[in-house]
């Protein structure tokens, strides 16, 4: 071949013909970098969702920080009271002569604001009503006087300036004239005011309650008039030592020297001793060192000489008709003898201090937020109204300031997942109630009822969906005439695409009222239709072949459609008759008989009946879950190798035996993964649940009551949740729980599916 010996023309010069264009290489390199970088970025950012949500909820579990700010030495005297304004900028102290010492945090200066009180004796008792920011002073000669510090805030040059302009009202006497007042307190409900004073001259003690009524006049000025004075001394066992009056001014709590607490209630203008108890009765020394109301004035925190700390709350005991105090929380020992117990104006936290120990505790969750040993013995303390600044007075009269950074004191593992004894409840429980009517409302953030609701909704949805989906998938893959498959499968897949808001709307507007009136019909249909199906199958297979040949295998479902309609229709209309026989309740008062399932169910089971209930949700969620389980199961069943089936058939097994004994076990992993993915969908479903349940966070398995799921809870509450508040972060936690739950379920399913795929690849 002469041609091959020849060199190709222009071989040397066209060398570059085989070189790749620089641009192509450049583009290729660029695209490689771009796609690698971009792809990795997209995947990281998608997975970053998880990280972001975790960052959002981290503060819920983070310990608070309390940092010392500065210390200001004060003139040496015995101060009767320590108070502070809302911002913690200008704390004030009451001096023995009744004048106010105002401390400026910014400058560190102190200013003596003396007032012309018109009292003759020394101030021996003082009480600050934090909500009104008003002080009542009691003197050594039995007088009392109200003083208001009057903090006002103004802005100057972009900075906030706090001014103090104290004013005083005219003094009056209470109880025994001239007898020194050793403790005083008052409560003001707006329409009435209750002042209670404890007087003691060393030997005799006297507790006097003075009641004032306030009338609203047209001029807008409130007129106060005395409405009786009560001597409470006879009702109190032992030597009274301390008085507590709630803001409502309708009761008095008196603590005796022996540690006995008397709860006196004002009813119909008279006081009665409602309850008497000893909080530390089990200890050798039952004396109560310090006690104070927790914000909301429903609970009292007591601390004993030895540092024990217990909370007693008012609640209706099981079967009781009156609210009584009972122990609800117990804290660990302080480790020192307590001298101060101050509550906040924002939440259920309080500060317990004694010796050199300071401990910030949260009563609802029984958690110690912060505890520290300070280098000085403490004598008094106050927390600013915003729960941001703490001022501690030591025994040598130096005022120490601390910054409190504790945005979520009401959170933590116990609050979110544990049983908590909330105020007013007869026992500890799991509860979700994020908002309430008043400022001192105690939010309840337990996720347990929501997780329970999620599981309940999922359970009822799966109970309904799994049988139908599995049966349909088995029939479609094993028995159905192949020519139907191309229409049947897409039809079922359309079901998966129905927006859940449509399903939810139909559930609430269409299905719920329909089912409500016809529960017995529904019961009949649910039980009856499968029986009809199985029985007609049995009957059919016993017919002679001459008749059977008219329906080819794989066409049964078409025959079944009219059969189903007829049987379901008959059963549906039999419902009312069934109801009047089976579900009759007799009104015990009138003897009137009523055939109503809605009345029968509560009467027989004691559980409630709601129109929007789990049955409706389960049914409607079926629309969302059935197609998913159906599609994946059908795929798994169809992928079972044909030789297995033909071998089974050849051995003489019937089509059902083959399906049950050969196909199902082989595809079991796939079926399981289908169930898992269906479960994942049911767990996260939101709109159906929001619309078709009452969204009440109850914990009962009753099928005729509603529930509140994690997802519905987020949808209902997050739009109103203040940014970065505890509720906001708790809802994020709910989202994280959902995320992890579905992610775990889906991962298990996916790994199983991949495993299955590998298995069939080799066979």
């Amino acid at each position: 071949m002469p041609n091959t010996k020849k060199t190709l023309p222009g071989h040397a010069t066209e060398q570059n013909r085989f070189e790749t264009s620089k641009l192509t290489l450049l583009v290729d390199r660029f695209m490689t970098v771009f796609i690698k970088f971009g792809g990795a970025l997209v995947i990281t950012s998608v997975l970053g969702i998880f990280v972001f949500i975790v960052l959002q909820i981290w503060p819920l579990f983070a310990p608070p920080s309390v940092t010392p700010l500065k210390s200001i030495p004060l003139p040496d005297t015995k101060y009767a009271l320590l108070g502070v304004d809302e911002w913690g900028a200008k704390p004030f102290l009451v001096e023995p002569d009744g004048s106010l010492l105002v401390v400026d945090y910014e400058t560190g200066e102190t200013q003596d604001q003396s007032l012309n009180l018109g009292i003759t004796g020394q101030v021996t008792a003082a009480f600050l009503n934090k909500r009104e920011q008003k002080i009542i002073l009691g003197t050594s000669n039995g007088q009392f006087v109200f003083v208001s510090p009057n903090h006002t805030s103004r802005e100057s040059g972009g900075r906030q300036i706090i001014d103090v302009n104290p004013t005083a009202e005219t003094p009056s006497s209470i109880g025994d004239p001239g007898m020194p007042i050793t403790d005083i307190a008052y409560g003001d409900s707006g329409s009435s005011k209750l002042i209670v004073a404890l007087q003691s001259d060393g030997e005799t003690n006297r507790v006097t309650a003075s009641l004032f009524k306030r009338k609203r006049s047209l001029m807008g000025k409130n007129k106060e008039e005395a409405a009786g004075t009560h001597d409470l001394t006879p009702m109190i066992p032992g030597r009274p030592e301390k008085i507590l009056v709630p803001v409502t001014g309708d009761s008095v709590v008196v603590i005796s020297e022996s540690g006995k607490v008397s709860y006196l209630v004002l009813a119909d203008g008279k006081f009665e001793l409602r309850q008497s108890f000893t909080p530390f009765g089990d200890l050798a020394n039952s004396h109560i060192n310090v006690a104070n109301f927790i914000f909301g004035d429903v609970s009292i925190a007591f601390a004993s000489d030895s540092g024990e700390n217990r909370i007693f709350s008012l609640f209706y005991p099981e079967g009781g008709k009156e609210r009584l105090f009972g122990i609800t929380h117990e804290f660990p020992n302080l480790g020192a003898s307590p001298v101060l117990l101050v509550s906040t104006l924002r939440n259920k936290a309080f500060l317990l201090g004694g010796g050199k120990e300071l401990s910030l505790r949260y009563s609802t969750t029984e958690s110690i937020r912060w505890q520290s040993r300070v280098p000085y013995p403490v004598s008094n303390a106050v927390i600013s109204g915003k729960y941001q600044r703490l001022a501690v007075l030591d025994s040598s009269n130096t005022l120490h300031f601390f910054q409190i950074d504790d945005p979520h004191p009401d959170s933590g593992w116990k609050a979110l997942f544990g049983k908590v004894w909330y105020e007013g409840a007869p026992g500890p429980k799991w509860d979700w109630q994020s908002t309430g009517g008043s400022d001192d409302f105690e939010p309840k953030y337990s996720l347990v009822p929501l997780i329970f609701g999620t599981l309940k909704g999922t359970l009822y949805a799966m109970l309904f969906a799994v049988p139908i989906a599995l049966l349909a998938a088995l029939y479609t893959s094993q028995f159905l005439d192949p020519r139907f498959r191309s229409t049947v499968k897409p039809t079922m897949e359309i079901m998966a695409s129905l927006p859940s808001v449509v399903l939810g709307f139909l559930a609430a507007i269409y299905i719920a009222p329909l089912i409500e009136r016809q529960v017995p019909s529904l019961l009949l249909v649910v039980v009856g239709v499968p029986i009809v199906a199985a029985f007609s199958g049995f009957f059919w297979s016993h017919l002679p072949i001459q008749i059977r040949k008219f329906i080819r295998p794989g066409w049964e479902w078409i025959v079944f459609l009219p059969l189903l309609f007829i049987s379901a229709g008959i059963l549906w209309y039999l419902g009312p008759a069934f109801e009047s026989v089976a579900f009759v309740v007799t009104d015990p008062a009138t003897g009137q008989k009523t055939a109503d399932f809605r009345a029968w169910w509560p009467a027989v089971t004691g559980a409630s009946y709601d129109q929007r209930n789990s049955l409706v949700v389960g049914f409607m969620m079926g629309f969302a879950v059935i197609p998913i389980i159906f599609t994946i199961t059908e795929d798994a069943l169809s992928n079972v190798p044909k030789p297995l089936i033909t071998a089974s058939m050849a051995c003489g097994a019937s089509r059902w035996q083959t399906a049950l004994r050969v196909v199902m076990p082989t595809a079991s992993a796939g079926i399981f993964s289908a169930l898992m993915i269906g479960l994942g969908r049911a767990v996260g479903e939101t709109m159906i649940v929001v619309m078709a349940t009452g969204n009440t966070p109850i914990m009962e398995w009753n099928i005729f009551s509603g529930m509140r799921t994690l997802s519905a809870n987020i949808a209902v509450e997050l739009p109103e949740a203040p940014h970065h508040a505890t509720l906001y972060r708790t809802l994020f936690l709910g989202a994280l729980v959902l995320f992890l739950l579905t992610f775990a379920i889906n991962t298990v399913a996916e790994v199983l599916r991949q495993h299955l795929r590998e298995k069939f690849k080799t066979t």
Partner: protein, 553 residues
Amino acid sequence: MRDTDTKDLELTRTLAAPGEPFVWLTAMGLALGLIMVVGLLGVIVANGLPVFWPSKIVEVHLKPGVKNPLPNSGGTLTGEIVQTREKRIPVLSATGDKIEDQTEVQIFVGNKDVNGSGFVFLNNSDIASISEPRGIYRLERMEYGIAFAYPKSLQLADGTSLPADSPAFTQTLTRLDAESAARRREIEKIEKHDIGAINSRITQLRAKGKGSPESLKEIAALDADYQLLAAKARELRAIQSAAALIYTTPNGIERRLPVGELVAFTLPNTLVFNQKLGLFFHNIWNFLTLDPREANTEGGIFPAIFGTFVMTLLMSLAVVPFGVVAAIYLREYAKQGLAVRAVRIAVNNLAGVPSIVFGVFGLGFFVYFVGASIDSTFFGEYLPTPTFGTGGILWAAATLALMTVPVVIVATEEALAAVPRGMREGSLSCGASKWQTIQRIILPASLPGILTGLILAMARGAGEVAPLMLVGVVKLAPSLPIDGAFPFVHLERKFMHLGFHIYDLGFQSPDSEAAKPMVFATTLLLILLVVVLNLAAILIREKLRKRYATGAF
């Protein structure tokens, strides 16, 4: 011989049977599933379509002695029959027998301004007879919804009056109606568009100008413009109420309806089939193109359609490039190993994470973090009023894009994997670079697969509501996300959405009875949209499967 024969027969009979009842049970499963789908779609169509069909107005004559639920109506009641339903009476007689159940009729009586409520229920046994009055009008009004009325006269703007029995009456009313509609559009244009533009400019000047003399001057000029426009709008409004229709309600109360308040009028009882069909399509058209009225229970749902469309479009713009790039990376560039397998499973599973979780993330990240940062950087002068730091169509689209990106990644990856190896190798052996192979061979071949993924993502995005509730959907948006005011596309605006419209109307409407037709019609539209999208995806996928079934070997 005979013995064995019968024995054989018996044998075959028992052999045919094993498990056959169970096969029927599985057939029931399939039948139930199919009935559920078809039934649900049927319920929606059966309730959604009749909303547009003009129904007859009936006059119900009550039996003597039956109390009329409407005041001053005597023994008759006029309205449209909504439904007849069975009334269950659960009380049993003393002997334990069931007291007869009866049916009741729900009648839409309209005239809310006179009757208070729009619907009444009547026991079927209380009805003596039902007639169809021919001369009755169905008036659609701007306020108080529908009125059933007998017109009396037409008060014209020049003070003259045209009695209802005059031959020119219908013609004049039609003309006045058309004129008032034109004026209404004009007023709307002035108030929404022109005055809206002035208002937004003034807000901008107030925030940015910080009281400088130039800005104050411009504000003054704008204010003068505003006064002019407002005066014009007032003038038009005065004309709108100059002419009026005087009518009496079926219970004899005389009312005056300014033509400006009249939206449309029909005589339903005189319509023939062709006219009804025309009206049916006219109603559908109005439903699709008009703004909602009366707390969304009347008028159309155009803003919701538009909002859904724009949001889905924005979402698609975001989801396609990111999803495709990520899929190409995973399939073509990343080293296939345990790590990529794990990532693939993770991405796959993200498609199963509840949508509300994405909504939570969108609110926390896009709105409160990204949006607030944008606000403090670019829109500091408007603070504390948020611009991007609150829910809006951009954040909604971004959230849904994030939610649907796994769907697109999975679909694209599947499509890439399905491209036959031979095509890839052929291209590479011809000297094409890797990117050239992807660009010219693989991507075109997998385009239908990518399209399927996109369509599925769009269907999911269009039907999803839960996450949108957190990131910017509202029941009534004052303006559309795209309009004639600069800069034309307003990504920060809140928007309306079909799915949320259903939720809001069906679940939170103060008058849920009146809202029902509207919800069913909206549902029908949404279902239609989603089903068509999904069917398209399924069809494309089927075609794809066939193509590769032949091309793979």
